[in-house]
Symmetry: D4
Subunit: 253 residues, 8 copies
Amino acid sequence: MDSSLLRILLEDLQKGELDIDSALRKLKTLPFEDLGYARIDSHRCLRTGVSEVVLCAGKTIEQIVGIAQRIAQNHRNILLTRASKEVFTAVEAAIDSCQYHATARIIVVNPTRLNRLGKIAVVSAGTSDMPVAEEAAVTAETLGSDVDRFYDVGVAGIHRLLHVCDDLMKANAAVVAAGMEGALASVVGGLVACPVIGVPTSVGYGASFGGLAALLGMLNSCAPGVSVVNIDNGFGAGYQAHLINKAVCCASS
Amino acid sequence: MDSSLLRILLEDLQKGELDIDSALRKLKTLPFEDLGYARIDSHRCLRTGVSEVVLCAGKTIEQIVGIAQRIAQNHRNILLTRASKEVFTAVEAAIDSCQYHATARIIVVNPTRLNRLGKIAVVSAGTSDMPVAEEAAVTAETLGSDVDRFYDVGVAGIHRLLHVCDDLMKANAAVVAAGMEGALASVVGGLVACPVIGVPTSVGYGASFGGLAALLGMLNSCAPGVSVVNIDNGFGAGYQAHLINKAVCCASS
Amino acid sequence: MDSSLLRILLEDLQKGELDIDSALRKLKTLPFEDLGYARIDSHRCLRTGVSEVVLCAGKTIEQIVGIAQRIAQNHRNILLTRASKEVFTAVEAAIDSCQYHATARIIVVNPTRLNRLGKIAVVSAGTSDMPVAEEAAVTAETLGSDVDRFYDVGVAGIHRLLHVCDDLMKANAAVVAAGMEGALASVVGGLVACPVIGVPTSVGYGASFGGLAALLGMLNSCAPGVSVVNIDNGFGAGYQAHLINKAVCCASS
Amino acid sequence: MDSSLLRILLEDLQKGELDIDSALRKLKTLPFEDLGYARIDSHRCLRTGVSEVVLCAGKTIEQIVGIAQRIAQNHRNILLTRASKEVFTAVEAAIDSCQYHATARIIVVNPTRLNRLGKIAVVSAGTSDMPVAEEAAVTAETLGSDVDRFYDVGVAGIHRLLHVCDDLMKANAAVVAAGMEGALASVVGGLVACPVIGVPTSVGYGASFGGLAALLGMLNSCAPGVSVVNIDNGFGAGYQAHLINKAVCCASS
Amino acid sequence: MDSSLLRILLEDLQKGELDIDSALRKLKTLPFEDLGYARIDSHRCLRTGVSEVVLCAGKTIEQIVGIAQRIAQNHRNILLTRASKEVFTAVEAAIDSCQYHATARIIVVNPTRLNRLGKIAVVSAGTSDMPVAEEAAVTAETLGSDVDRFYDVGVAGIHRLLHVCDDLMKANAAVVAAGMEGALASVVGGLVACPVIGVPTSVGYGASFGGLAALLGMLNSCAPGVSVVNIDNGFGAGYQAHLINKAVCCASS
Amino acid sequence: MDSSLLRILLEDLQKGELDIDSALRKLKTLPFEDLGYARIDSHRCLRTGVSEVVLCAGKTIEQIVGIAQRIAQNHRNILLTRASKEVFTAVEAAIDSCQYHATARIIVVNPTRLNRLGKIAVVSAGTSDMPVAEEAAVTAETLGSDVDRFYDVGVAGIHRLLHVCDDLMKANAAVVAAGMEGALASVVGGLVACPVIGVPTSVGYGASFGGLAALLGMLNSCAPGVSVVNIDNGFGAGYQAHLINKAVCCASS
Amino acid sequence: MDSSLLRILLEDLQKGELDIDSALRKLKTLPFEDLGYARIDSHRCLRTGVSEVVLCAGKTIEQIVGIAQRIAQNHRNILLTRASKEVFTAVEAAIDSCQYHATARIIVVNPTRLNRLGKIAVVSAGTSDMPVAEEAAVTAETLGSDVDRFYDVGVAGIHRLLHVCDDLMKANAAVVAAGMEGALASVVGGLVACPVIGVPTSVGYGASFGGLAALLGMLNSCAPGVSVVNIDNGFGAGYQAHLINKAVCCASS
Amino acid sequence: MDSSLLRILLEDLQKGELDIDSALRKLKTLPFEDLGYARIDSHRCLRTGVSEVVLCAGKTIEQIVGIAQRIAQNHRNILLTRASKEVFTAVEAAIDSCQYHATARIIVVNPTRLNRLGKIAVVSAGTSDMPVAEEAAVTAETLGSDVDRFYDVGVAGIHRLLHVCDDLMKANAAVVAAGMEGALASVVGGLVACPVIGVPTSVGYGASFGGLAALLGMLNSCAPGVSVVNIDNGFGAGYQAHLINKAVCCASS
């Protein structure tokens, strides 16, 4: 709860500019809005600097459109993740301004190009990891970070990674998307000095167990400086990397 | 590989100040040292800004002492993690300057108090999570970050957490150590704007399966901005938080 | 076995009003009915106060209709759970009086509105948890409990939950449906004084492993007063909550 | 937060009987106490009717004694669970009034016999399940519920269970502790009308996987009215059963 | 290898009625037939008394038909298990004499009604377990055992099982098919004196994990005399029960 | 319940030789005895032909001795399984007649040598599987079956198994104890015509996961006629094999 | 990095035939080619003797065709694995010379028949394992090894395997593909003297858990000389077997 | 079975130099020796070129000594793996000639130094992996292969590995022992042309789950040419590598 707002409210009450019942109501009317099937957390933007993000998977198209319309009234650059083509068609029909990143499966509502600051490296092990890597990259870019992409640099041909090593080292944060054994996160973690966010992907078969192998691999990374998000959670990795990059940029400006 | 050093080497060769065999040897003599049972990565400090850290678990006392002595010749504030009392006794006997953090199970060899910069919040759910939380806190402090500790603020009594919320929000990075269901990481992740590093602990019994429940809980956090390290890996969490904090501090200075 | 009925039977036998073979037959003719593919447990209503509930998943449409028709002869408010639209069409064609709750995927055969007594809170973490939450709510309502719904109050924006805290506290029992990390059950369990029934949902992806993460999270809840049912088992949670609520209401009347 | 207290505070402020800084401080001074390694949630008793319970496993003896001493100043019938004989010796030395239930591994500090109300049935499958069953029984009794014990009535000799069926049916809530396949919870759930709290135990070997088999068995119970707590969590089961029993008793009085 | 056949072969060689190369070839020409994609084990019938059984799942329709045609030349009552309707259509088109058991998903090629001897009880917990139970029953009947079916007698209404207890006790072997928690195997195992073959089914959802809960439950049965086959392996259970029943019948004749 | 006993009871009641209260009591006084911590199922012997077996693991020595003493009053050849040397010392001190099989970890109380009938083959893969194999063998022998042991015939040297194949084929039932990959059960299952009871052992390391690999291997046996008991459950395998062997012998006599 | 090339480069630099910037660029221009979505590792062929292999699963058809076209410019016998019929149609339309192995799901681009050297045995347990076995066989043949196929020789009829034992023993390496319990790898490993590569297949159901049972079985093989690749990874097994076979052949020539 | 021996036997029979009963006996007297608790497979040496290896774990000291003594009569360089110091003391007391490799936990009975041929690289990720790596190295050396050790070259400091790359490439086979995430196997697999045998170690904690993470990582290696043995199975890896190395050396000689 915002301490200064609370102080103003209490001062108003003290000065008699606010009666008790209004104060009680205000103290309870926290900033969210109830659509019945969803409570839109409009407070989040104040709290964390990013407006609410909508995970489309598991919601009906009607719910997605309804939530998006409501957030769109007050915010820009709203992220709708895991959005299929079909979802985009419905959102596009209902909302004037929106943009679809097909590989990343992200819709941006009210897209507004921000100054892209700092530098985030998004690294992927193989071609099949691209949807997850792009989810991270588009998320970070939409939130205002500059992103360099290094795709298909998996450890089976380590010279490909060493080749881009100097460029990698310029980033304030690195996202590493890898399936199968997920070894790339450890190798990158051993090469760079910035925080590495590993995002295991479900790419693989058999004993990859839907990304479990890559997840365990990254969690057990022998290189320090590697933390991990959920399997295929490109959004989460891009978001975390953006938080770090933004903090560095804000501090330096 | 350091591009500028390579340029100098090549220039020396061109100028005739270096013969080919010496150049070849130098290109191959990468900076590490082979003790037989360990290759000390003295290059790491240049690469990542932190000297090699020794995980004591799984090594013999002889190996630990040997490695520590060798690193101690050139570095200070060397971290020996998962060090039992018995290990400390042996290290203390062999090395003049070292310090033991018993709860954190960390030995610092050649301890030198650095200016502690910025602010990291280390949050723990319960009293039993303290060893892991302390491992994170001591790691970050030894590397040069300032740390605030918020212990025993688990979600079963959420007012304890809300009470410290304003202080939490001052941190550049937060470490959340929690066992059992690990829900604290999500709740903190929803409250603060900085990156949160969740470290699931093995505290619990039965269906906690040695920390698996907390690990899965944190990986599935519904709050964005949470990334996760291995179960009980307080060191990794403190290290990652320090990287973030240091980057912010360096940028602002 | 009902002790008083047994006594009457034995007395009739003693008085000669019943011959031995009839007594034997009666002792064996326990109250169920064999349809070949199903034995309808008409005794359950006497034993537990609720007539047999039909889980549609895994049964053929013919079996569902046959079982429903037979129970419908003697009971009302019969619950058919996990019923698809297709199942409803078939049941509706065969049975005059039935009602479909689409989100809850429940058919009520011979629906009869009971006085809804007491108060059960059904709480859900996100919009995607609604089918499970509704299964719990409709089950409890059909069995005769009054239900308040609190949807989309997940821990990533904890103020949404705190906002409804006073209303939550009025319930005799609370059902908490949450996927992903399932942390909501612990937080609610720490806030209310009534029993909490956690129902983990399969909402999530990757390391949610089909609801396993939420299940383990709830089982390891650091708040006492939380018990758990199977993943997605909204029916079981609503049923258990109704048992508690009904016992309180009956005791107080 | 207590709405009426908030109103009084606001009224005092309005009347000038409280200045703003005091109001702010009061709004923040939530009722808990910080021992450094633990924050004692003295508010819990107001919130849930039960004072904080101490899980000894994972804490040092010094921490246990410290926490117990502090709670003991204001509360009675404080439960210290998973307490070894060694812990009891230390607690006994530090606190005048305490009592040890050896099989249940529970210490009660400031024990005060309450009127034991209502009826809870604690049922166990085998002799080896007794420690868990006793943990549930002693918890419920200490909190003020009357308990009937039905031990060693596992399903391999189902007549033993049927024999006590009439007595079982008198309970307001039943706790069923069973290891191995945990089938007893389902069978009891099918026989009684009250809520059943299943507590899987780690009794067994091989493919019991430390209680996993019993846990999964109880979660998949084909009888409705069964909810489940963590493996070996007798405390949680006894607590939940007490909440239900108390609600029924309070309502009826 | 058949010792008497070997003796005859050696005698023939000794007598000069067989030359060495023929003897060598005969020693190597073991009784199976190579179709390229399958080696038909025509020796099995001699070895185990049952001709080779064809598991259709995982084979192409062409392979199934080819194998069935070849075995059909020399055997009757050939079992083709896990056969879809589509497989039956193809087999029926290619082979004159075959019969389809739709619920059991079994095709019998060259069906010949044997005298059905002894008695096997096939017990199932719920209506949804019928396909697996029927697979067991049809297997045992086709191999020559008499089968009594007891369906939908799950433990949630234990009186249904007790009602048929006398009939159950007449069997030489019992098959118990149950999903969810699989408790029925333990209860039946505690009631009867004959061997019980438990077959866990994949009926259930959530934490049944595709039959894992029932499998673990049956393996941990607290009743002795229960052994277990693979999830949904009705064939294996019926086969094992038939072996037992046949041995008893043969011994008694 | 025994139908003929029930008829006699009812006839007595009808004739006036029994009053109603006695009849009610008799109907309830099922044959077991309550020791407080254990209910001895003396009915089991009537029901299944084997007196209750005591699993020592998980019971205190006092409980074991108490239970053994009570059963010993009425039965002979009582099996106490998983009995350590220490347990034997205590039992021996309390009960006159008992015998210890050290490798099998079985105590037989009131040992009486029965005519050993029929033939059971107990086969083990390696030397380390002997304790489990012996548990099976001693169980079957104590219950009255004749046992042939075939130890250390694992599939890595398949000629060792083929060598004993003719002897194996004489058994009415075979127990196969194997750890590691448990392949022996499939190979034996393909060679013999009698039922095979596989007992996976926890022998192995790493990815044997305490016997899980052998368990899964046996459950997925490609040979029909193999059923499986819990990991290390030699008792259960020997018991099941004895049931089969006894049925065959009884039928033939 | 190739030491001799490095020497030449340095000599050129020393001689002045190369300027520093060119040397730097050359040192960085490692041999791969960036298509944006893929970096083709043309260096691999020099390094390992086999050109890059394309795993089609997880890639779009456009990506597969693009990668294949690029590699096809410089290489022959390029393997495209896990290629569906649909992928083949697209590749065939874009590239002149390619060949489809339908059962193995492999496309060979620029197929050129090499001298097939040495001998690899590819052994499979059942008909359903053929796709995986063929993937191994076609891989090894395309790379230049001679392959003998031994299909459907599973352990349930061990004489089928013993029959081909002499032929098996001629191989320099053996691939064993088996699903279900995967026992065949151990049995073959015990019979032959050459290295055995086990490839567990996902053939099976229930407790095969998608090949996990076979995988664990093979990893725990009691026969030495068995190593294992991922579930269904016929390519990996064939590749490894080819490496061994080629090394033997090269050494002998 | 050896075809030529069989021919001689049959010829002797034909010539009358052998009677039928002797022939039968010889055909059955396969070469192994039965110690009661173990059947020594003396045939293995003929079959696979290596005498039987004794895994000490799980055997009693008496059994180990007995087996070792018996094999020692006819063989040299007998490997006793997983031998503790205590086992060595007992073996040394009973057998004249034996040698202990403490780190590798291997006893060699009748050690005889063979010409060490070819070249195997044994690579380990960290100091803690040394016991497993040494088990592989000593096994291969004892069997007659020349071994180069590359220890502590894990991927967190990839330059350490690149430094030894040229030496690695000289091997005919490489063993890679790594715990934690096991990424080293993939990186080595991408660098060398020879077969790589990965041996995951149990080094690690938390989500390494006893080596599971490393095991899954290696099985999912994105580099072809990597096969895997059981967790901590240094023996198996060394054995497999020796088979490959020996085949290459034999072929070339």
